[in-house]
Amino acid sequence: MKYRIVHETRYSSAEPISVGHNEAWLTPRTTGTQRCLDHHLEIEPTPSMFSSRVDYFGNLMSQFVFNQGYHTMSVKSVSEVELSPAPDLDETGPAWEEVRESVLAHQTSEDLEAYEYCFESPRCRLTPEFGEYCRESFPPGRPIVEGLRDLMERFFEDFENDPNATNVSTPVDQVFRQRRGVCQDFAHMMISMVRSWGLAARYVSGYLRTYPPPGKPRLVGADASHAWLSVYCGPLGWVDLDPTNNLLPNLEHVTIGWGRDYGDVAPVKGVYIGGSSPRLSVSVDMAVVEE
């Protein structure tokens, strides 16, 4: 399966911005099931400085600076990605306790690496209450993937998709109380639960293929960026879960990168000096190039 993704972010300010420094996490990562065939950024105006590097979590990110003053900045990220089907998961795999204990003991480098994702991060909290939510899904000895599927199923039933309920800085405690939010909140929420239960979970930033309503043509640019989570399952490796859609990603999720939470992999962020509060507009288009 091959996709071409065009993701455009535009900031405009009524007053000219004198200096702007930006960071972007927009380059799709190559993983076991994903190959990034091509990626480039088209930035307007031409930045005074542009550089790329691999971040702490292994994602390729870019920095660019404007020194000359501008009203509008736009970043167009064009990617071509090839996905292969997710391998069959051994759903009878290790019991969740086994995974939890081996991560806690972190004797292998994989376990040690996973251990980093067991703790609080700026947007994911650990509380006994969140842990308690998981209990029902993890009776003793249950295979970990089965437990996670069950947890996601319950989560999907309990939490309602509501774009007006939250904003980019709504804390998970509030999401937990109101049981509403968007994909990003759900990723943070379920990560917080899984970590509170003692397992390792990370935040994944990416895109999701969408389908037009039956009989309607696909609208260009109507897609959006997406977020989900990935849980460490010991010998099974990292298993992605999309609680917004209650499914295990397969051939329709394109991964940009991952971190502890949104703050580590925000698609575009920056600081600016001068100007008025910029207005943001984002458009994403994910087109199938080859079925």
Binding site: Q63, Y115, E116, V271, Y272, I273
Partner: protein, 843 residues
């Protein structure tokens, strides 16, 4: 312990109850310790009255030098004075040399630990350190990983020491993020040596200056070999932060430019200092603030010492920051539980100087020990620099203990426990009495070529009890000097050039940051604005105070002027105001004392004081003192509330003289360099524009300007004497307007201000490449041209319509001149703000 005995009025310190604490001055038999013998003997020759007198002198000196802590209380900023007890703490040469060995080893070790944690993480992979020291630690900042691995991470290190009952030194806390206190130690030494009675001076006390030479060398070395004369700046979090005094002091003592984040800018792959003359590349930044705010781009936040893009430049090796971001990690007390093993692994040595015994509750065995011995322990967060949030096990009841253990059990890795130490006792001279205090000593080390060098001295703080002490250097009841005795007489060394050293002549200071220029510009504006408002208010109040105020014909014009200036509510400016007169008189005190009136007198004086505090480095100490005193008197009188215009009149009359004193100090005391120029620029623009506004308020459309109004004009612009000496009492519009507008010899006239502005603009640094006149030159020349083209006839016209039009145009040019200059030379900067993209939901 030591207690007071006053024999024959002389100071005497003796040992009293031995108890469970170590006495610094006396041994168990009550004999003076060797290091203290000579001092205690000499002290017997000092009378109580003399020591009291000397203590007062020391206090006064510290106050005058401005040694204060900013202490925030309920949102209000108070400055608490620094207190120094003249009796030093004395340590012998041999004992100090072993402390020094221990500190050097510890600094080397901690440097290796920081570098390992932010680079290879061998200690974690080999199981010497638990991964929680990073993963669970909010102080571990992932953006610092792999920043750069050359040279020491920790350039400057401080350790907080205490001495337990058996006399052994223990490290209570490590400081490496931006260790504070060295300059306080130096200032204590300087003030104490000036004020200590002569008999107490000892030529065998190690000096502190050589340590600061090492600091300079260390920072210079950091810049690398390719830079002959590295440019080093000291990056301060600003005047609102508690150690600002020390930032100012160190910058001055070490000879570095003091900057804030807004003074620095990243361009391409370097960091530059923005100055009036352009951008200067920076080689080394001494960071005095919190490391996690250093780069708002990568780390978030918008603190005053943040520089967007800084981390990238560090990564590329084009600037060095001391201490390297990440060094603050080892301040987490959790490391103390693992230092002995780390020392064996990384240095192959045993620790020479032990930490206070520490247990990490994340380790099962350690936690068991903590449960058993809670009574003897202090519990604190594992990942916060120690000093806050400490729980003393001994003080808890059974229920409290249970609750605490449950809290720990819910997240054991978040806690450490440390042994409770009874701090050693020292004699403290306070309010004319010798009392017993318990001490904490902050010691300092700086990186040398392959090791560390330790300051032979330190900052001693004393508290009334032997309990754990808050470890911030502002805590405690007072401070002391630490004397380290040398085996031989010590030769004086100073960072200040030896007397008689020839210096090349210079006429300017090396670097003049744009931010300072900006502040001084506004200082000049506020100074003249305050002066002008005072004179205008005085003219109004004098007239309101007459019995028949309703008949004073010039009052409406003057009140309109006050409203145009933004000092009073515009409603009062309507012409037919006479019925409201009593109301206005009653309301005036309230309106003038209103701090929210942004164009008012109180705001101008507050601003004057704020800017002077920020930029006191750039003005004479007398100027700063005068501003501070003036503001204190006026603002407190305004705050206490004036009940009638008589009170206002008194305050305003007094203020006029005080402001004149400030002007005089600025005028006579400031070198005619860039600092004076921007300050004066601000004054001239303000004075010209205020005078224009005053004239516009008094011009009426149909008639000539009435004689009483002309008189009031002369009064407000302070030209009555000049006028009388020229024209006696014959008040004529043309002669008055000439003095106000066109007479270039009159220092209050608009023409005079503009002539000065022309001079200032000429002196601004400019791009010499351009053949055409710069925009600021064109603006000031347009203003100059306009004022010179006013003819004698125009001044005589009734009404003076042409003049009024010219004034309007003049004001436009002056306003744009002011904007051009602030934009081009002063405010390159602003507060960086954050933006992030928001995710939208995939439907």
């Amino acid at each position: 312990m030591s207690t007071l005995t006053q024999t024959d009025g002389f100071v005497s310190v003796t040992r009293s109850a031995p108890g469970h604490v170590y006495d610094e001055a006396y041994d168990r038999e009550g004999k003076p310790r060797a290091a203290w013998g000579k001092f205690l003997e000499s002290l017997k020759q000092v009378s109580n009255s003399e020591l009291t007198h000397r203590s007062e002198q020391a206090e006064l000196q510290l106050l005058e030098n401005g040694v204060t802590f900013n202490v925030f209380q309920e949102g209000e900023q108070l400055q608490r004075p620094w207190r120094l007890d003249l009796l030093p703490v004395i340590v012998g040469a041999d004992e100090w040399s072993s402390v020094t060995d221990g500190l050097r080893q510890r600094a080397r070790l901690l440097d290796l630990v920081v570098r390992d944690c932010y680079h290879e993480r061998r200690m974690i992979r080999e199981g010497v350190l638990p991964p929680e020291v990073l993963f669970a630690n909010p102080g571990f900042i992932r953006a610092f990983v792999g920043l750069n691995s050359q040279g020491p991470a920790i350039t400057s290190y401080a350790a907080e020491l205490a001495r337990g009952a058996n006399g052994e030194w223990r490290v209570m806390a490590d400081r490496a993020e931006a260790p504070a206190g060295a300059a306080f130690a130096l200032e204590n030494r300087i003030v104490a040596s000036r004020t200590l009675p002569g008999v107490l001076h000892d030529k065998h006390v190690e000096r502190l200056a050589p340590f600061f030479l090492e600091v300079q060398n260390s920072l210079k070395r950091l810049a690398g070999r390719q830079t002959e004369n590295p440019r080093i700046v000291l990056l301060s979090p600003g005047a609102a932060y508690p150690y600002y005094f020390e930032d100012v002091y160190l910058a001055r003592y070490l000879g570095y430019t003091l900057v804030e984040g807004a003074d620095l800018a990243v361009r391409d792959d370097r960091v530059f200092l923005k100055t009036l003359a352009g951008l200067l590349p920076i080689d080394v930044i001494v960071s005095r603030g919190v490391e996690r705010w250093l780069d708002p781009l990568e780390l978030g936040g918008s603190e005053p010492h943040g520089v967007p893009g800084l981390l990238r430049v560090i990564r590329e090796g084009k600037v060095k920051v001391a201490n390297r971001p990440g060094s603050g990690l080892i301040e987490s007390p959790i490391f103390m539980a693992f230092l002995p093993q780390l020392c064996r692994q990384l240095l192959g040595e045993e620790m020479l100087l032990s930490s206070i015994p520490t247990w990490w509750c994340g380790d099962g065995e350690h936690f068991d020990y903590v449960k058993e011995h809670l009574k003897e322990l202090v519990i604190k967060p594992a990942f916060q620099a120690s000093g806050n949030d400490e729980i003393i096990g001994m003080r808890l009841g059974a229920a409290g203990k249970q609750e605490l253990l449950e809290r720990i059990a819910s997240a054991p890795h978040q806690y450490v426990a440390q042994e409770l130490i009874a701090r050693s006792a020292v004699p403290v001279y306070h309010d004319g009495r010798v009392k017993t205090g318990h001490m904490a000593v902050r010691t300092f080390a700086v990186a040398t070529e392959n090791d560390y060098s330790v300051m032979p001295g330190g900052l001693v703080r004393v508290a009334a009890t032997a309990d754990p002490m808050v470890l911030s250097i502002s805590a405690g009841e007072g401070s002391k000097d630490l004397w380290v005795l040398a085996k031989e007489e010590v030769q004086p060394v100073s960072l200040l050039a030896a007397e008689g050293t020839p210096v090349p002549l210079r006429r300017t200071s090396a670097v003049f940051p744009s931010r300072v220029a900006d502040d001084l510009f506004w200082f000049g504006q506020s100074l003249d604005r305050a002066d002008f408002l005072c004179r205008l208010l005085r003219a109004v109040i004098d007239r309101l105070s007459t019995e028949s105020a309703n008949e004073v014909t010039e009052l409406p014009s003057l009140i309109r002027a006050l409203a145009d200036q933004g000092q009073i509510e515009p409603a009062f400016a309507i012409d037919a105001f006479s019925p409201q007169m009593p109301n206005f008189t009653d309301e005036l005190p309230r309106m003038i004392s209103n701090p929210d009136e942004t164009r008012g007198l109180v705001a101008a004086i507050s601003e004057l004081h704020r800017l002077a505090s920020l930029e006191r480095l750039w003005m004479s100490p007398d100027t700063f003192r005068q501003v501070r005193a003036t503001a204190a008197v006026f603002l407190s009188s305004a705050e206490n509330g004036w009940t009638s215009i008589v009170d206002v009149s008194e305050a305003v009359n007094h203020l006029i003289l005080e402001l004149a004193a400030i002007s005089g100090l600025v005028h006579d005391g400031m070198v005619r360099g860039p600092a004076w120029r921007v300050l004066d620029f601000g004054r001239r623009v303000e004075r010209a524009r205020d005078t224009i506004s005053l004239l516009k308020s008094t011009f009426s459309e149909q008639q000539n300007i009435a004689r009483p109004v002309l008189k009031a004009l002369l009064e407000v612009i302070d030209c009555r004497m000049t006028y009388r000496s020229r024209y006696l009492d014959n008040l004529q519009q043309n002669a008055v307007l000439d003095l106000c507008i066109t007479d270039e010899t009159c220092p209050r006239s608009i023409a005079f201000q503009i002539a000065m502005l022309v001079e200032h603009v000429d002196a601004l640094p400019s791009e010499t490449a351009s053949l055409l006149r710069s925009e600021e030159k064109r603006a000031v020349m347009a203003a100059s041209h306009l004022v010179r083209m006013i003819s004698a006839e125009q001044l005589e016209e009734r009404p003076a319509e042409e003049v009024a039009n010219t004034l309007v145009n003049l004001d436009v040019h002056l306003k744009s001149l002011s904007e051009i200059v602030t934009r081009k030379y002063l405010l390159h900067s602003g507060v960086p703000r954050q933006i992030t993209s928001e995710l939208e939901l995939t439907q």
